[in-house]
C-alpha cells in the first residue's frame, strides 16, 4: 500500500501567535493599563479635593504673594504676585546653576588632570579629593559648610582680604561691576561680543594662512589685539558719548557703627554655602569624567604627539583634550543637570531657591498646583541642558558638522 501523498498546505499562523497581532495587543493593553492607572489616580485626587475641601487650581498665581524672599537677583517686592515670585525663585536657581556649573567644571577639569599627573603625590591628592567628596551625601557637606560659615566672625570683626574682600558670617563681599545706565551697558556688551567674534575670525584666518604658507602670522596674538582693541575703543566712544563709563567697579565698604557692608556684591551665607557645596561635590564627579575621557584617548595619540616634539601641556591641550571631549560631553551635561537639581537643597542652608520658596508658598496656596508648576520649571531647565548638550554633541561628532 502506498500512502496517499501528504499535501502540505500553509494555513498561516493562528491569530494569537501572529507577531504583529501580539505586538499590537501588548501595546494596546499597556496603554490602557497606564491610562487607567493615571485616570484612577487623578480622579481619586480630584474626588478627595472636593470631598475634603482642599484648595486647588491655579488662580493663586495672580494673587499677591505677601512674603519676602531672602535673596533675589531681580527686583522683588512683597506685593508682587505668586507668578512673579515663582519667576524670582526660578531665577535664583538658574543663577546658582549657571555659576555652579562654570566653577565646578573649572575645578573638576583641574582635579581630573591632576589625577592623571605623572607626579605621584599630586595624583594621590586628587584621588583622595575625588574619593572623599564623591562618596559623602551633598546634604552632609552642605550642613558642614553651613556651620563653618556660621562660625566665622561677625561683620565687624570679619576678615578683610587685600582690602577689597570681606569675609564674615554674613557671607563674602567682593568688588563687582555695576552699570549706571543699563541701556549703555547692554550696548557695550553687544559690541564686546562682536569684538570677540571678530577676534575669532582673525584667529581662524591667520591660523589658516600660517598652516598654508608656513610663515609665522601670530594668530592668537593678533586675535587678542583685535578683540581688546575694539572692545576698548567701544568703551571709550561710549564713555565720551554718554559722559559716563558703561560699567564701574563698585568696591564694598563697611559703613556706620555696625560695620554693615555696602557696595560691591555680597554673596550671602546661604548662597555662599550652597555654591561651595555644589561646586566641591560636583567637581569630584566631573574630575572622574575628565579622567576617564582623557584615558579613553588611545595611548598612541599622546605618544605620537610627544614624538613630534609637543610639550606635555600642548599634547594635552591640542591632541588629547579635543578627542576626549567627545567622550566627556554627554556625562558632563548630565552632571550639569544633577547640579541644577541638587540646588534644590538650598532651602536646607537658608538659600531661597525654587524648591524652598515653593515649600513656603504651600502655606498660603494649594500645594499640588505649586509643585506641579515647579516640577514643570525644573523639567524645562533639564531640557535646556539636554538641548545644549545635543547641539554640542552634534558639532563634535566624528565626521559630522564640521
Amino acid at each position: 500500500m502506498v500512502n496517499a501523498p501528504r499535501v502540505l498546505t500553509y494555513q498561516g499562523v493562528p491569530v494569537w501567535r501572529h507577531i504583529q497581532i501580539i505586538q499590537w495587543a501588548v501595546q494596546v493593553v499597556s496603554a490602557i493599563v497606564v491610562v487607567a492607572l493615571v485616570v484612577w489616580f487623578f480622579a481619586n485626587i480630584a474626588g478627595a479635593i472636593q470631598e475634603r475641601d482642599i484648595p486647588y487650581g491655579f488662580s493663586f498665581l495672580s494673587r499677591a504673594y505677601q512674603t519676602p524672599i531672602g535673596e533675589h537677583f531681580i527686583p522683588y517686592e512683597s506685593s508682587d504676585t505668586f507668578l512673579y515670585a515663582l519667576g524670582v525663585a526660578a531665577s535664583n536657581t538658574a543663577i546658582v546653576a549657571v555659576a555652579g556649573v562654570i566653577l565646578a567644571t573649572a575645578l573638576g577639569i583641574f582635579i581630573g588632570v591632576a589625577r592623571l599627573s605623572g607626579n605621584w603625590i599630586v595624583s594621590k591628592l586628587a584621588m583622595v579629593y575625588i574619593e572623599f567628596f564623591r562618596n559623602v551625601p551633598l546634604l552632609v557637606q552642605l550642613f558642614f559648610w553651613f556651620y563653618i560659615v556660621l562660625a566665622l566672625p561677625p561683620v565687624r570683626e570679619g576678615y578683610v582680604i587685600a582690602g577689597r574682600f570681606y569675609v564674615n558670617n554674613g557671607g563674602i563681599s567682593m568688588p563687582w561691576p555695576y552699570a549706571p545706565d543699563l541701556a549703555v551697558a547692554l550696548i557695550w556688551v553687544g559690541l564686546a561680543a562682536l569684538a570677540i567674534v571678530a577676534g575669532g575670525a582673525v584667529n581662524k584666518r591667520l591660523a589658516l594662512r600660517e598652516s598654508l604658507t608656513g610663515r609665522s602670522s601670530y594668530p592668537l596674538l593678533s586675535a587678542f589685539a583685535v578683540t581688546l582693541g575694539s572692545g576698548a575703543l567701544a568703551w571709550l566712544v561710549l564713555s565720551f558719548a554718554t559722559g559716563d563709563s558703561p560699567f564701574f567697579i563698585s568696591t564694598p565698604e563697611p559703613q556706620g557703627q555696625f560695620g554693615r557692608i555696602a557696595g560691591g556684591f555680597t554673596a550671602r551665607a546661604g548662597l555662599l554655602v550652597l555654591l561651595l557645596g555644589l561646586v566641591i561635590y560636583t567637581a569630584s564627579f566631573i574630575a572622574e569624567i575628565v579622567r576617564a575621557g582623557i584615558q579613553s584617548v588611545g595611548r598612541g595619540q599622546t605618544e605620537a604627539a610627544r614624538a613630534l616634539g609637543l610639550s606635555p601641556l600642548n599634547t594635552l591641550r591640542a591632541v588629547a583634550f579635543p578627542q576626549a571631549l567627545r567622550v566627556i560631553i554627554p556625562p558632563l551635561i548630565s552632571q550639569f543637570l544633577n547640579l541644577t537639581k541638587n540646588s534644590s537643597l538650598g532651602g536646607a542652608v537658608g538659600f531661597t531657591d525654587l524648591t524652598s520658596v515653593a515649600i513656603t508658598m504651600t502655606q498660603t496656596a494649594p500645594a499640588v498646583s505649586i509643585f506641579m508648576s515647579i516640577m514643570g520649571i525644573y523639567l524645562a531647565m533639564s531640557l535646556t541642558w539636554s538641548l545644549i548638550g545635543n547641539l554640542y554633541n552634534r558639532r563634535t561628532r566624528f565626521g559630522g558638522g564640521r
Binding site: 485626587i45 605623572g118 607626579n119 562618596n135 546634604l139 525644573y378
Partner: protein, 415 residues
Amino acid sequence: MAAQSAPAAEPLPPPRSEVGVIGWLHANLFNTWYNGVLTVISLAALFLALGFALKWAFMSADWIVVVKLGGRFIIGPYNTEVACPGQNCFWRPQVSLLMVIFLTGMAWGLSGNRTARNIALLFAGVASAFAFLPYSLEAMGWDVRLLLLANLPAVAAGWAVSRYTPLGNGVRIALLGGLVFLLILALLRGLPGTPWLPSVSVIYWGGLMLNLILAVSGITLSLPIGIALALGRRSELPVVKALCVAFIEVFRGVPLITLLFMSQVLVPLAFPEDFPQNSLFRAGVVITLFSSAYMAENVRGGLQSLHFGQAEAARALGLAGWQTTLLISLPQALRNVIPAIVGQFIGLFKDTSLVYIIGMLDMVAIGRTFIQGNPEFLVNARETFVFLALVFWIFTYGMSYISGKVEEHLGVGQR
C-alpha cells in the same frame, strides 16, 4: 673573534638614581623641574592640611554630640518612650542586626573567598565591638551589650549553615535574604495589640537603620525596574517606548526632594482616608522609582555598547527574542556597566539622606535637629557632620570596593 673568546661582560648595574627608593622618587616625583616644584608645593600643602586636621581632630574638636547621640544615630527615636511605651524596644533592631550578620556569614560560607570572609568578619567584629563602648551600665545595659556580642556567634552560625546544610546555595540565600528583609520590617513594625511586640509607628524609625532600610529596598528593586525600563525604551513598539521614555525623562528631570514632597501631599489623596499607608513606604517607592529611571539609562548605555553581531549570532543560532535578551545581551550589557550601576547604588544610598524633607529622622536629620534644638551644642556642629560624613563614606567606599572585587572576579576589561 675576540668577542667569541672573551666571556660576555657582566652588564653594568643600573645607575643608583634609577633603582630603589631614589629611583622611585626620581621617576614619580622629581622627573622634571616643574614636577619637582609641584611635589614640593603639594607636600607643603599636605603637611599643613594634615597638621591642621589632626590638631583639630585630637586637640580642639569636642565629639560630645556624637557621644551624646550614640544610639540615636543608629536607630533614631525608635526605643524612646513615645515610640514604644512601657518597654525598651532596643532588642528589635538588635535582633534585626543579628539576622543581617547571619546572612553575611552565609554569603561568606557560600563564596568561600578571602574578600567575603574579611567583609563578614569585619561587620561582625565592628558590631560586637560596640558592646565595649564606655557608656555607663544605665545608658547601655547588659542585655544590649550581650545582644551585640552575639553577632560573633551569628556570623559563625551563618557560615556553618551555608557550609554544611542544603541552604548554602546562591538562589536559596538570595530568597532567604528577601525573606529576612520582610521579617525585619515586620519585627520593627510589630503586631498591633500584642503586649510583647507593640507596634511602633514608622515615624519613629530613624538613624542609620532608616537609611539602610530605604537603601536596601531601593537597591534590590531599582535594578530590575531599571532593566525593564531600559528594555522598554529600546523596544520597537512605539507605545511601550513612549511610555518608558516619558517615565524616565520626567523622573530624571526633577529633583528628588520635590518628588518626595509631592508623594507626601498627593499620594494620600489618591487613597481612601482609612487606607493603610505610611510615609516610609511612600518615601521608599519614590526613591526606588527615581533611582530606577537613572538605572534604566545606565543599562541602556550597556546595551548600546554591545556589538549588534552578538544579538544577530544568537538569533542565527535559533534563540527566541526573549532568550537573546535574557541570555546574551543583558548579561554582557550589565557586566559592562557595573561601575555605573554601583555608582547609582551609591547615589541612592546618599539620597536616602533627603527624607528630611518629609520629616523623617534619618541619620543626618537626627544630628541636624539635635543641634537646632540645643543651641549650646552649636559649636560642636562641625564635629557632628564630620562624623556623619565618615559614616556615609565607610558605607559608600565599601560599596565601590566590593564592586571593584566583583569586576575583577568577572574579568571585566580582560575579555
